[in-house]
Structures are given as structure tokens and as C-alpha cells.
């Protein structure tokens, strides 16, 4: 992490890091998942699910409920996906 600057850091100019990126997840007839980008291009087929976990948070404000899974795509690429359980939408995010 870079620290420096001494210039006043204006909190109104904070930008989020690691925001969830929308992706598509399709299931074929045999139940295998295929991950695609929002522009329609395919990222890859899911070969294995390494781990899955659920996050429920901020029920007092605007409920957040996510089902995360760490997957391995064809070719060995590792990826973290989650499904927003309130909207059903899929996202990719760094863990």
C-alpha cells in the first residue's frame, strides 16, 4: 500500500476499490456453470468449486445477502463469484 502525499485527502473524492463486477452465470443441461462478461463474451466454464460462503450484513440499513464461491475455470484460472440473493444477479470480485 502506498502511503504519502500530505495533500489534504478529501473524503468526498474517495473511490471504491474492488467493487463487484457484474457477470453472467449460465447453467447447461448437465448443471455445469459458464461465466460470461456483461458484454456477452465468455470468461470460461467452471471446472470446480473450491469453497463457498455466505455473507449477510447491514440488515439494519439495506440488507446485503450474498452467496460467495471460489471457483476454478477451465485452464486453471481462479475466480471469486457471488450471487446477490436479493436480486439474483451474479458478480465477480477479488476476495
Amino acid at each position: 500500500m502506498v502511503t504519502s502525499s500530505r495533500t489534504p485527502l478529501r473524503t468526498d473524492r474517495l473511490r471504491a476499490v474492488n467493487e463487484p463486477q457484474p457477470v453472467t452465470v449460465d447453467l447447461d443441461e448437465s448443471g455445469l456453470m459458464t461465466v460470461g462478461r456483461s458484454d456477452g463474451r465468455t470468461v470460461g466454464k467452471v471446472e470446480a468449486i473450491l469453497e463457498s460462503w455466505r455473507i449477510d450484513d447491514e440488515w439494519w440499513r439495506r440488507t446485503i445477502a450474498r452467496n460467495y464461491m471460489e471457483v476454478i475455470l477451465e485452464g486453471g484460472k481462479r475466480m471469486v463469484l457471488f450471487q446477490d440473493l436479493l436480486t439474483g444477479q451474479w458478480f465477480a470480485q477479488m476476495p
Binding site: M1, P8, R10, R13
Partner: protein
């Protein structure tokens, strides 16, 4: 003389308009916590030691500043130099706190008010206290308003101190709590107790506190006099006219003068380079370094420029270098400079700042961002960190 929140004041001085906003300085050792808080931020509930996210939660318009210890040290060194013009006896305390020996100054300036006026002219934001001994003077300064002074007349120290809160004493939190539990809220209340009883209860430290509260201790200001000029000279076998040779000789003289034992602990502020020329004429360059330094290159640079721009009019028989004025070395200054690691960190920050400025000049915009921790404990990854424009 006391300038509370000195680092924050330094930042306000170099960022115009900053004083109008709630501001917080990040801690020098960890950028996750706040160190110094402006009064506006304090009013919004922000406190030193809070994490960035806690502070932003309380005060969304808060402006965060990363610390620049080297800059604060430089500003403090300038302040000490300015005070040295008023009195030869100057003792630095914590950053922003300076004790000035005033004995004999009344003969130069006039009464105590005139002495205080001369001290106040060195900094408009300073609070000044005049009294017998460092503790009385410090308490007086802490009771004055910015840009004003409190003068404790001789013989009235005990009366003045009696009305002050015990927080004026150099207490640890535990002793402060114990004194308050005993119902002691002022220095007068503490001084009213028998000295032996306070010593029995609080040990040697209690005795010292009692004596301070009673005005029995008047510690003098322990200043130190600047060293005599340091001279290094070189006589050439044959008169020299080549500038390269002169520049080389200058480097040797600077290195020799810097090694002089009297220079240790001092940074060079003023330099003179004299040349005895063939035919009984001479040449002189006198340089006042804007930032006092002990770095050979920074001392040599302005002298070499002078050698280039207005060289000696004849061949040089003898070259003499003099360090004529000094500023206290960083080693005796502040908590930051005493910490070599912090000083190194500050140096790295400066290098980074310079590189960022160059990138911005080349690409006409700043593609650099700075990562700050917002809620590092959050279960939601996007809440943990945030980016902010890196603007040196």
C-alpha cells in the same frame, strides 16, 4: 513560546484555505489512526487516536493529511533560528514548544512586555508565557490565547500557579486520576498539602509535582551557544585558474570543514568562500542557505554556481571556506528526527512526491491513486479500502 498542534499549523500554512475545514493529521507511524485534530474537527466529535473510518463517519467533510515530519522539523528549526535572533539562550521542547532564556534581555529591549513583543514577532500564532523558570513560563503560555502573552510578575508565581488546574503538571494518566479521586483539582490544592504527605503517597515523582505546584522549582533554560566559525583553507603550489580544479578544491574543503568536531550537532546556515588571487586582489562569495544542511552537495551547489557565474578575476593562490552560521542539527530536534526510521520514511515520501509530480507533468493528468483503509475489518471486500487521487 508554545504553538499547539504545530504540525497541523505547518500544514495550514502551506495549504491555503485549509484552516476553514475540519482537518486531521494522520499518525506518523500508522496512517489508519488520527494524530492531531483541528478545532473544527474536534467540534464535530473527532478525537485523536480514532480510526479514519470512525472519523469520517462522524465528520464526512473531514480533510485528512498525511504527516510530513521533515517539513515540521524544518519549520521548527526556522522558528528556533528566529528566536535565536532574540535571545542567545533557546531550548527546544516538544514540537512547537520552545523555552527562551530572557535573563538580561530587558537591558536590550526594555521591560518584560517589550521582551515578549520581540518573541511574539517570530510567530503570530504562538502563545507566549513569561515567568520565572520553565514550568511557570509553560503554564503561562498554555493559559494565553494565540498571538497573545501571559506575564507572571516576579514574586507572584505561587499565586498564579495556585489557580491553575492540575492538568498543567506533567502527569501520567494514572496519577492524574488518583489526584482527582483525592479531590485535588488545582495546583493550589496540591501545594496546600504537606510535602511529606504527597511524597509518601506518590514517591519521588510526587515530591517533584508538589514542588512544581508550589512554585519551588524554577528550572533555568538550558540553551547552547552556536559554535565559532569553522575555517578550512587550501594553498595551491601554483596559482589555479581552471574552474574545475577550483570546484574540486571546494569539495575537499567542504568535506574537511564538515568533519570538524565543532560542527557535530549543527547544520550549516551561512557559508563564505574567499580566494586570495595572484597580484594581491581577492574574491568572495557569501551564501545564506535557505534550508540549513550538513549535506556537502547542498552546501557546494550555490558556491559552484557562483564560481560559474562570477568567477575570480585572476588565478587563485589560496582558497578559504568558512562556515559562519549554524542551525541546530536535526538530531537534537524533534521526536521524528530522533527516530531514524521515521526520517527515512519521510525521505521516501519526498522522493515519491517528486516522482508523482514528474509523471503528472508528462501525462498532463494524475494516473496515480492512493489507497486508504476505510473499514479494513468489513466482511464486504469493497468496503475495506478506497482510492483517492494522489496529488503531491
Amino acid at each position: 513560546m508554545w504553538i499547539p498542534l504545530f504540525p497541523l499549523r505547518c500544514e495550514e500554512a502551506r495549504h491555503e484555505g485549509l484552516a476553514a475545514y475540519p482537518t486531521a493529521l494522520l499518525a506518523p507511524d500508522t496512517t489508519r489512526k488520527l494524530w492531531q485534530i483541528s478545532p473544527l474537527a474536534r467540534h464535530a466529535g473527532v478525537k485523536p487516536g480514532m480510526t479514519v473510518s470512525q472519523a469520517i463517519g462522524l465528520c464526512p467533510t473531514l480533510r485528512l493529511i498525511e504527516p510530513d515530519p521533515v517539513h515540521y522539523d524544518e519549520r521548527f528549526a526556522h522558528l528556533l533560528s528566529a528566536l535565536n535572533e532574540v535571545s542567545p539562550v533557546v531550548e527546544p521542547g516538544d514540537l512547537g514548544l520552545v523555552y527562551v532564556g530572557c535573563d538580561g534581555l530587558e537591558g536590550i529591549y526594555g521591560g518584560p512586555e517589550k521582551v515578549v513583543e520581540a518573541i511574539r514577532r517570530t510567530s503570530h500564532a504562538a502563545r507566549v508565557g513569561l515567568g520565572l523558570g520553565k514550568f511557570t513560563a509553560w503554564v503561562a503560555a498554555s493559559r494565553s490565547k494565540p498571538g497573545e502573552a501571559v506575564i507572571v510578575q516576579r514574586g507572584t508565581e505561587a499565586k498564579f500557579l495556585a489557580a491553575q488546574p492540575i492538568s498543567a503538571l506533567p502527569l501520567d494518566a494514572d496519577t492524574h486520576r488518583r489526584l482527582r479521586q483525592l479531590g485535588i483539582r488545582t495546583l493550589g490544592a496540591l501545594a496546600a498539602l504537606p510535602e511529606e504527605a504527597v511524597t509518601a503517597q506518590f514517591g519521588a515523582m510526587g515530591r517533584r509535582l508538589w514542588r512544581l505546584a508550589a512554585g519551588r522549582i524554577a528550572e533555568p533554560v538550558a540553551g547552547r551557544s552556536a559554535p565559532e566559525p569553522i575555517v578550512a583553507a587550501l594553498t595551491f603550489f601554483a596559482p589555479v585558474g581552471e574552474r574545475e580544479l577550483l570546484a574540486h578544491a571546494l569539495d575537499q574543503l567542504i568535506a574537511r570543514a564538515l568533519k570538524h568536531p565543532r560542527r557535530i550537532g549543527w547544520r550549516v546556515h551561512a557559508v563564505r568562500l574567499r580566494a586570495d588571487l595572484e597580484g594581491s586582489s581577492s574574491w568572495l562569495a557569501a551564501i545564506l542557505l535557505r534550508d540549513p544542511t550538513a549535506d556537502a552537495g547542498r552546501i557546494a551547489a550555490p558556491l559552484k554556481t557562483r564560481l560559474e557565474q562570477s568567477p575570480p578575476t585572476g588565478a587563485v593562490e589560496r582558497l578559504v571556506l568558512e562556515f559562519t552560521a549554524f542551525a541546530p542539527g536535526t538530531s537534537e530536534l524533534q521526536l521524528f528526527a530522533r527516530d531514524a526510521q521515521a526520517a527515512a520514511r519521510a525521505g521516501q515520501q519526498r522522493a515519491l512526491q517528486s516522482a508523482a509530480r514528474e509523471i503528472r507533468m508528462r501525462v498532463k493528468r494524475s494516473p496515480l491513486y492512493h489507497i486508504v483503509e476505510v473499514q479494513p475489518w468489513s466482511r464486504l471486500p469493497e468496503r475495506r479500502y478506497a482510492l483517492i487521487d494522489y496529488e503531491p
